[in-house]
Symmetry: D2
Subunit: 338 residues, 4 copies
C-alpha cells in the first residue's frame, strides 16, 4: 500500500518533490496538489506526472480522508500554520525548511505535531547527500575518536535576486542555515557559542538590506569541539559544498561531485570538470533519499531522520550569528530564545 | 504526444529499460510488455510501473497498431528476428547488444530496418556515460589535434556464472565488445588490424570453455592511430572503466565514478571510496540518456546515435580478436566477413 | 664569488641551513659555525660538510672580516641582539623566526639593520613552498579579481613536548604565527581585526600552561577580505598544510605533498599515501629556496623576500589572537603595540 | 670512510651523478673525473663541486689505487669495455644503461665483473622512483595475491633530435628499454613473448630511420601474467610516467608527480599543474637513491639492486620487440640470443 500524499505548493520545490514522489519513490503517490496560484499550466504539469486532483484550497487537502501525509512546499510564512492544520487533521508532515523565522511559532508548530502524534520531518536535504553522509557515518562510527574541529564551506554559484535578499532574512537565515544544520549533523552535538564575521564583497546592494554576502562563523559545541563555517554568495565555478571533521585519530572530509571525471592534459595545463552547477544538480539524489526516508518512517512508524527540533535549532543559531555580527561579539546560545 | 513503446523481454535489462522509460523519459510510455516467461510476478512488476498490458506473445506487439516502437531486451538469439519482424511492422527499434553473433544475420537485420525505413538503435550504453562522452567530445572537437593512441581498460567486479561463459561466445564477444565499440566511438575511425593476448588467471574453469578471463588487444585504426584494450573478468574493488586518448596536443582520460567523495586520513593511510559497484550503478544515468536519445531520434526524425553498422563492427572485431588469439598472429579486419 | 656565511647555532635548524648552504646553494659557503654548546660532535658535523672553523663565541663571527653574512639559528631570545650586533658589524642577516616575542625589541632590531644598511630576512619558510607559492602567484596575478576569503589549515602530526609548550608563548606564538604570515602573504594585505576560539582537546596538560591545542581564528583584512585559520597540535596522518583563497572570479587552493602517488584499490577500499610527515619533509625544498633567495638578494643587492616588517606583523597578530581568546572578544590590530 | 669514486664521463648524465655524489650521498666522494673531451669548462665544473683531479685518460682512473669504484657515464659504445677494464682493475662498477646493444658484448662485460668479484650495478633509475617503488612494494608484498596484468605508460614531453634517432637503435632500444626493465621489476618475472605495434605519427622523419615514434607492446610473463607498454615520443603536457598492476585481490597504480598541488577553479573550468617536465625533474630523487644504494651495496658488501642480468634482459626484449614489429608476428624470447 502506498502512502497517499497531499502536495502543498506547486512552485519549484513543490514540483521537485512531486516529480520525485511520483517517479522515484516507490511507496508513495501524490493524490492531490494544492496551490493558491493554481492555473492551467500547473494543472497540466500535475496531470503529466499523474497527480489526479488539483485545488487552490489547502484546507481541502487537510480535510481529505484519502490523504495520509502532506508535503509542505508553500511559501515560508505559511509553513507553521500548515503544520498545525495538518497535525490537527492527523496527517503526517514533511515540511520544507525553515518552519518559520519566529522561534515561538516554530515551537507552536512542533508542539502541534507532537500533541497530534503525527510525524514531522523538516527538509534539511543535505543530510541525505552521499558525500556528507559518508563523512557523518565515519564520525558517528567512532573510528576517529573524539571530535576536535568541524568545518563547512558552502558557496552558491551566483547570488539570488535582490528581491529575494530583501525578504530572505539575510545570509544566516536563508543560506548558512543549511550549514548550521550540517554542523549539528556532523558533530552530533549542540552549538553553545557563535561568533560571526561578515562583509559585503560581491555586490554593494547587499548593504542596502543590512545583509552581507560573505561570512565566516566560528562555533563552540557542547561536546567541546570547535567549528567554522564559511559562506559566499558567489562562486563562478559552481556550487561549492565541502565539509571536514578533524578528530583525535584522523580527519574525514569530502569534495564536490563533478560534472564528469574526464581530465585533459595539455601544454598549457591540466583541465578537469567543475562541480555540478547548483543544488538541483548536486542534491538531486539527496532529495529522493530524503523523501524515501520520510515515507519509510511513516509507513514503518519509525522516527523521522530530521525532526522538529532539528528544524528549530538552526533558526536559533542563525539568530545568534546575526546578533554576533551586529554587536561585534561572541553570542552564547543561551542568550537566544528557545 | 508520447512515443508508445512495446517492451520485449521482462528480464533484468528489460526491467531496467521499462522502469526508466516510465519514470525518467518524459516523452515515452510503455504500452505493452511481452515475455515468453510471463508470470504473475512479472505482471505485478509491470502493473507497479503502469504498463497496462502483458502478453507472452511478441507477435501481438508487432501487430499492435498502438505500438510505435519496440525495445528488444529478449535473449540474444531472438534479437535479429525481432528486428526483422518489427521492421516489417513499421516499428522503430531499440535493440540491446549484440544484434547477433552471426555476421550475415546481423546484416540481414540491418537491411530489414533500412528497407522498412525504421530507426534501429543498438544498445551500446557506454557511449552515453558522462565521463566517456566528455572524453570523446574533447577528441571530436579537434582541440587536441591528431589522435595517436586510444586506450580502454574495462574490468568487471566479479566473473559471470560458468553457465553464462558456456554460451556467451567468449570474453571478446560478451565483454570486450563494449570496448570495441568504445574505441570506434573515441577514435571516430574504423579498426583495421587486431592482435590479442589472453590468459586464464582468475579461474581455471574458463579453459574448459576455450575462453580466457584476462585479455589485452592491440589495434590499428584507419586514421593511423594505434590502440589497446585490456579486460579482466574480476576486480574486487568494483567496476573499473577508464578510457584514454593521447593526441598530438595533449591527452584526455577519465576515471571512475566513486560511491562518494569522502576521504578519511588516518595514521595508517588515506582511504577513499571505491568505484560504483557494477554497470547498473555506473551506467544508470547513461541508460536513461540512451533511451532519451532514441525517443528523441524517433520523435524528431533524427539519426540515431548508435546505428546498425555500429552494432555490426564490434562483432566483427570480436571475431578478429578471437581468431588472433587462436592463431597467435595479427589479424587484418579485411579477413573477417562483413 | 661566494657569499661567506657565519652560521650562528648548530642545533636542528642550524644544521638544516648549514647543510643546505654547503650542498644545495651554489653561491654560498659557510665559513664558520658558532654555538655556545660547541662540542666534538658538533665540530665533527661541521667538518663533515666542510665548515672550516668552529667557535663557542658568536662575537668572533661578528668580528670576522671574512664573514659577509650571518644565519641566526640560535635560541629565540638571542635573535634580536644578534641582529643588532651583526648589523653593527655590517653583516647581512638571515634570522629564523620569530625575531623576538617583544614588539619593542623587534623594532629595535629592525631599526638596527636599517640604520646599518644591511639586509634582514626573516625565516618564514612556507612562503617558499611550491604549493603555497603557486596559490599566491595566482592571487597576485589578479586573474581571479578581488579577494573575498583567505583560509589556512595547519596541523602538526604530533604535539611538542610540554617542556616546549611551557616556554613557547602558546599556540598563536609558536605555531599559528606561520599562518599569520601566510595570510598576509596570500592576501597581500594587512590584518585589521582578529577573533580567536580555542580549546584544549588533544591533551589536558596544555591547560596547565594557559594554552590551547586547537584554535580557530577569524580575521579581517585592510583590503576588505575576511579570513580564517584553523590549527591543531595533532593529526595522526601527518603534517596537514592547506591554503585556499576564494575570489571574485574563482578559487585557488592547494593540497599536501604526499609520500608517493601510488594508489591501491581493494575490496575494502581505495588506499593512498599520507602527506609527507612533518616540516622537514614538506618544506625541505622550501628551505633551500629560501636560502637561495637570501643569497641572491645579498649578492644582487635586491630586496629580501621576507623583511623585518614581515617578521614583526605576525608577532603582533599573535598577541591580538591571544588577547581575543583571553577576553572573549574581537580585537582590533590598532589595539596592539606596533 | 667514504667510497672513492672515479667518474668516467663529464657530459649531462656524468655531471648529474657527480653533483649528487658530492652533495647528496654522504658516504661517497668523487676523486677523479675522466673525459676524452676534457676542457677548461669541464675542469671548472669539477672544481666547483670539489673533484680534485681531472684527466682525458680513463685508463688513469682504472690504474689509480685511490679509486674504489667507477661510475661509467661515457658514451654507450664504451660501456662494456670500461666495465671489463674496471673489473680487471678490481673496481666496483656503476654503469649507465645500456651496457651495450650487442648481447655477446653485454655477456662478456657481465662475466668480467663476475670473474673479478666486483659489483656491477646498471643504471635503471626508475626502480628508485618513490611512486614506482611503492607500486612494486605492494605487488611484492603479496597482499594483492597473484599478478594478472602489468601496464606501463611512458611518454616523453618532446622527441629527441633526429641526429639521436639516427644512432639510438630505435624507440625500443632507447626509450621503451626503461619500461622493459620496469615490467620485470613490477612483475618479478621474466618476459616470454612479445608483440609490438608501432606507428609514425608525431613526425614523418622517424620513418627515414626505420623507426616509429609511437608503440604499444604486449607481453607474456613466465608467471602467467600478461602486460602492455605504450610509448609515445611526445606529450606536450610533460613527462608521463605511470604504471599499473592488476592482481587477484586488487589493483595498484601510480600517477605523475606534479609541479605543485595548487588547483584553480574558475568559471571556465578547473586547472591543475602539469607533471614535472622531464626525467631530470621527475627522477631527481631517484638518481640520488640509486647512487646511495650502489654506495651502500659496495661499502656493506651487499647485492646491488640492479645487476648485470637486469642490464641484459631489457636489451633482449627490445630486440624481440623490434623483430616483432618488423615481421608482424609475436616473438618468443627464446628466439633471441641470450
Amino acid at each position: 500500500m502506498k502512502l497517499r500524499i497531499g502536495l502543498l505548493g506547486g512552485g519549484r520545490i513543490g514540483k521537485l518533490h512531486g516529480t520525485n514522489l511520483q517517479n522515484a519513490v516507490q511507496d508513495a503517490e501524490v493524490v492531490v496538489l494544492a496551490d493558491p496560484f493554481m492555473n492551467e499550466d500547473m494543472e497540466a504539469w500535475a496531470g503529466s506526472i499523474g497527480i489526479p486532483k488539483c485545488t487552490k484550497d489547502a484546507d481541502e487537502v487537510f480535510a481529505d480522508p484519502d490523504v495520509d501525509a502532506v508535503f509542505i512546499c508553500s511559501s515560508t510564512d505559511t509553513h507553521a500554520n500548515f503544520i498545525i492544520k495538518a497535525a490537527k487533521a492527523g496527517k503526517d508532515i514533511f515540511c520544507e525548511k525553515p518552519i518559520h523565522t519566529d522561534i515561538a511559532k516554530i515551537k507552536e508548530a512542533i508542539a502541534a505535531a507532537e500533541d497530534a502524534g503525527v510525524k514531522l520531518q523538516v527538509g534539511f536535504v543535505r543530510r541525505f547527500d552521499h558525500n556528507h553522509k559518508a563523512v557523518r557515518d565515519v564520525v558517528a562510527s567512532g573510528e576517529l575518536g573524539k571530535t576536535y574541529v568541524v568545518k563547512v564551506t558552502s558557496r552558491d554559484p551566483e547570488g539570488p535576486p535582490m528581491s529575494y535578499v530583501e525578504v530572505s532574512g539575510g545570509i544566516f537565515n536563508d543560506m548558512m542555515i543549511h550549514d548550521f544544520d550540517m554542523v549539528r549533523y556532523l558533530s552530533g552535538s549542540e552549538v553553545t557559542e557563535v561568533n560571526a564575521v561578515g562583509a559585503v564583497l560581491t555586490d554593494p546592494e547587499y548593504a542596502k538590506y543590512d545583509d552581507v554576502d560573505t561570512a565566516i562563523v566560528t562555533l563552540r559545541f557542547a561536546n567541546g569541539a570547535i567549528g567554522v563555517i564559511d559562506n559566499c554568495r558567489t562562486a563562478p565555478y559552481g556550487y561549492d559544498q565541502r565539509v571536514e571533521v578533524h578528530c583525535e585519530k584522523g580527519c574525514v572530509r569530502d569534495g564536490n561531485d563533478l560534472e564528469h571525471e574526464a581530465v585533459v592534459s595539455r601544454g598549457d595545463g591540466v583541465f578537469s570538470a567543475k562541480p555540478t552547477w547548483f543544488f538541483l544538480e548536486r542534491y538531486n539524489d539527496a532529495f529522493i533519499e530524503e523523501e524515501k526516508e520520510f515515507v519509510d518512517a511513516v509507513l514503518g512508524n519509525k522516527p523521522v531522520p530530521v525532526d522538529g527540533n532539528d528544524g528549530l535549532q538552526p533558526v536559533r543559531i542563525a539568530l545568534a550569528a546575526k546578533k554576533s555580527l551586529k554587536e561585534g561579539r561572541t553570542v552564547r546560545m543561551d542568550e537566544i530564545e528557545g
